[in-house]
């Protein structure tokens, strides 16, 4: 069975807690807090002010540049203030606070359950609609989707790769979305194929979701050019570069984007959002997230409007379990441990995972025994033990030579280390330093060039 060729690990998938739980809607909050930074790129700029009345789906902040995304109001009501709030890690971020009144939507949004299959829009119009709907990659990176659909000059897209892998343990929202809204995802795929002017799409799904593979393969029969590829179970198969390797056997070179090998990758949740935006005029105002953990009372998959306090979602899932040691936004491999749950739900949060106290504390590290298991596990073909050692010795140049910038933060090295060494912590630190050095060099080169031109 297909999978990516270098490294990888096999964490216990722990998906049984929330798998096959029907997607449930979370009730509207009384006060919504909508962050303006919910994507990679420039922050969105607020276009409403205190006292403004807003409807569901109305633009409340416009994109701050090409690589950015607008933010739409997920609720109707009155803007209370535009102010800073703190995220779950204590960092300040700008946000719009709305007092919710009723649930009135913009009239052009189609809220019926009908499935619309006919699309007469030109490719350019489709991309414009996706951009205007504020759609970003919902797999976790939140990269604005329209940017991917407009390949830079000289690059040609050949195949759309659909990420239905969900390789993070515990998370099941994409799985459930494929089961419940598979047809809409297929229509989303058709739209993206049309927008890119290509004919072939491959949906990669790991074999721990046999029902999703069967369901999507059945639906794909009616969509020419779309094919389902069952993949062997291995983390981090949902990583963009790993998924492309697993699906079409091409490896994106170091420092390049997927388009370099003719691939565009989109998550199933993103494609569902694209269908809703293009066919039903509904901007991105909600997402499906998994709330799970070994002691959670009602683990499940919840559809949440952005701006809803996470505490409200947690309440629905049965509250915070008593033995909780860590709350993680996302999955256990790449998710972030949160300081509190005061944060509102946003485009980034694909799941909430409650880990028990005894699983939350790291084991005391021992000496490196040079077993080489981290080298075997690294999906980018790096040498984590060496990079960690160089980082501890602050040897940034050597780290750069050994391609530390290729690291995708997947955590396989730390996961696999028998000595429990904090390899990725060291590597991340070094990566920050090396990245800074590279940017400084580029800026110095630009400045020198500008100075030389000024002299002429």
């Amino acid at each position: 069975m297909n999978t990516f060729r270098i490294g990888g690990v096999h964490p216990h998938d722990n998906k049984e807690f929330s798998a096959h739980k029907q997607i449930a809607a979370v009730p509207l909050p009384q006060k919504a807090i909508i962050p303006l930074v919910q994507h990679i790129g420039a922050p969105a700029k607020a276009v409403v002010a205190k006292g403004d009345k807003v409807l569901v789906g109305q633009v409340i902040a416009e994109a701050g540049g090409f690589v950015s995304a607008p933010v739409h109001s997920p609720v109707s009501g009155t803007v209370a203030k535009v102010d800073a709030t703190t995220d779950a890690w204590g960092l300040p971020m700008p946000a719009i606070f709305i007092d919710v009144e009723g649930d009135e939507w913009l009239p052009e949004i189609d809220r019926t359950a009908d499935i619309k299959t006919e699309c007469t829009l030109e490719p350019k119009k489709i991309i414009n609609k996706i951009q205007a709907a504020g759609i970003v990659g919902l797999g976790g990176a939140c990269f604005p989707t329209h940017v991917k659909l407009l390949p830079p000059p000289g690059k040609v897209a050949e195949v759309l790769i659909v990420n239905g892998v969900e390789c993070e343990p515990y998370l099941t929202c994409d799985h459930q979305l494929m089961l419940e809204r598979g047809e809409q995802i297929m229509l989303g795929i058709d739209l993206v194929l049309k927008a890119l002017g290509i004919k072939r799409a491959i949906i990669g799904i790991e074999k721990n979701k046999p029902d999703a593979i069967a369901h999507m393969a059945e639906l794909a029969k009616k969509h020419p050019g779309v094919e389902v590829k069952p993949l062997a179970l291995k983390y981090p198969q949902g990583g963009e570069k790993q998924l492309i390797d697993a699906c079409i056997g091409r490896q994106v070179p170091s420092g390049c984007l997927p388009i370099e090998v003719g691939a565009v990758v989109d998550n199933v949740a993103t494609l569902y959002a694209i269908y809703e935006a293009v066919m039903k005029n509904k901007p991105l105002i909600s997402r499906v997230m998994t709330v799970t953990g070994k002691s959670v009372k009602n683990p499940g998959n919840y559809e949440v409007r952005f701006g809803t306090p996470l505490a409200q979602v947690i309440e629905l899932a049965g509250g915070i379990p008593e033995d909780t040691g860590k709350i993680i936004g996302g999955g256990p491999m790449m998710g972030r441990a949160m300081q509190n749950v005061d944060m509102p739900c946003n485009k980034r949060v694909s799941g909430l995972l409650f880990m028990k106290k005894d699983e939350s504390v790291r084991v005391e590290p021992e000496n490196c025994i040079r077993c080489g298991k981290c080298v075997d596990a690294c999906p980018m073909g790096l040498e984590p033990y060496m990079l960690a050692k160089l980082s501890a010795a602050q040897n940034w140049d050597k780290m750069e030579q050994l391609n530390v910038m290729d690291c995708i933060d997947c955590g396989c090295c730390l996961f696999t280390c028998p000595s429990h060494r904090p390899l990725l912590d060291y590597i991340r630190y070094g990566k920050g330093k090396v990245g800074g050095n590279i940017r400084a060099r580029q800026m110095a080169a630009q400045a020198a060039k500008a100075a030389a031109e000024a002299k002429k």
Binding site: I6, V9, P11, K241, D245, Q251, V252, P253, S254, C256, I320, T324, G325, K326, I327, I328, P332, M334, G335, R336, A337, M338, Q339, N340, L353, M355, K357, E359, V361, R362, V363, E366, N367, C368, I369, R370, C371, G372, V375, D376, C378, P379, M380, G381, L382, E383, Y385, M386, N403, D406, C410, G411, L414, F415, C417, P418, S419, H420, L424, D425
Partner: protein, 328 residues
């Protein structure tokens, strides 16, 4: 509610140093059982003394010299003791065994800073020290008589490798008639160090190590293939019967024990698979050069120690294949 905050990943494979060491110890058990059948109480007493003194020395050095928490619980000292015993004749005076353990743990491991820091395989450091210091005692091999024979005044026998060496020196293949049958060599009813005699028991352990993913195939297979190829060519040129020569080379002496359990020591072998193959080929070549032309009939310990010294170089120059790397 106080929440724990730490960077990702928040999951771990559950692997530990102790688990890996325990797996190697388990893998060595079939060989230990054969050693008991072949050498009786001698095997049990030598092993017990070696293991206990290794653990004791490590604990004492941690406690009184390095003044830090002892790491005896990670079982690496137990493994060193076991491997050292497996490399000794079973009737070796016990004070020599204790001395070997002291050199293995004290000089071979702790003087470099403990587990993970030593450049050479500690058990082999101990063994080679004894081989050079007590050449007579270290090369007097008791016959495999099981529990029936007397432990200290056991009858001694020439090892198959010694016979092989004589045949090579004399260039006379009739000497090879003195060799035990290949089945005896394979199953372990031959003279030799106590843990190395049974190729089949060692291979059973190898399968266990592969199944538990404790080691990969690269080092043992590259050593065994190199040695086989060398042996076939050498026998053909020297006019010795190829099958007998090859079989004895592979089954007798420390080749299997060294290739599967000593050369694969995590700390002293290369990190990348490509490096491991180069390392394995190096060991295979050196051991055959010593066996065919050197003064000793056996060369596995020296071969591994020499390649241990090359390991840092291999780590520096051989890197794994990167994702998306184009062939030049």
């Amino acid at each position: 509610m106080k929440l724990i905050v730490a960077p990702a990943p928040h999951a771990h494979s559950g692997d530990s140093v102790r688990k890996n060491m325990l797996n190697v110890i388990i893998a060595l058990m079939p060989a230990f059982i054969v050693a008991m059948i072949a050498f009786g109480w001698g095997a049990v007493i030598t092993t017990a003394v070696s293991v206990c003194s290794c653990v004791l020395f490590e604990w004492l050095i941690c406690k009184f010299l390095m003044k830090e928490r002892s790491h005896v619980g990670d079982l690496s000292a137990v493994l060193t003791g076991l491997l050292l015993a497996f490399n000794l004749p079973c009737n070796l005076p016990l004070w020599i065994v204790v001395l070997g353990a002291l050199v293995a743990i004290g000089v071979g491991k702790m003087s470099f800073g403990g587990l993970g820091q030593n450049p050479f395989n500690p058990a082999l450091v101990g063994r080679v020290f004894l081989l050079i210091s007590f050449p007579v005692q270290m090369t007097t091999w008791p016959r495999p008589l099981g529990f029936s024979g007397s432990y200290l005044d056991a009858e001694t026998a020439a090892t198959p490798l010694y016979t092989l060496k004589n045949a090579i020196k004399a260039g006379d293949s009739s000497i090879l008639d003195e060799l035990p049958t290949l089945w005896d060599s394979f199953s372990g009813m031959i003279g030799g160090s106590l843990g190395e005699v049974s190729a089949i028991a060692l291979l059973i352990g190898f399968v266990y190590l592969l199944c538990t993913k404790t080691i990969t195939w690269h080092i043992p297979v590259s050593i065994i293939l190199t040695v086989s190829l060398f042996a076939v060519v050498f026998a053909a040129i020297a006019g010795l019967p190829v099958c007998t020569f090859l079989g004895t080379t592979l089954c007798a002496g420390g080749l299997m024990l060294g290739a599967i359990y000593m050369a694969t020591d995590y700390v002293t072998s290369p990190m990348t698979h490509c490096g491991q193959i180069v390392y394995g080929i190096g060991i295979g070549l050196i051991v055959m050069i010593i066996r065919c032309w050197g003064a000793y009939p056996e060369g596995m310990s020296f071969a591994i120690l020499i390649m241990n010294a090359v390991t840092p170089l291999l780590n520096m120059y051989i890197h794994p294949k990167r994702f998306g790397e184009k062939k030049k």
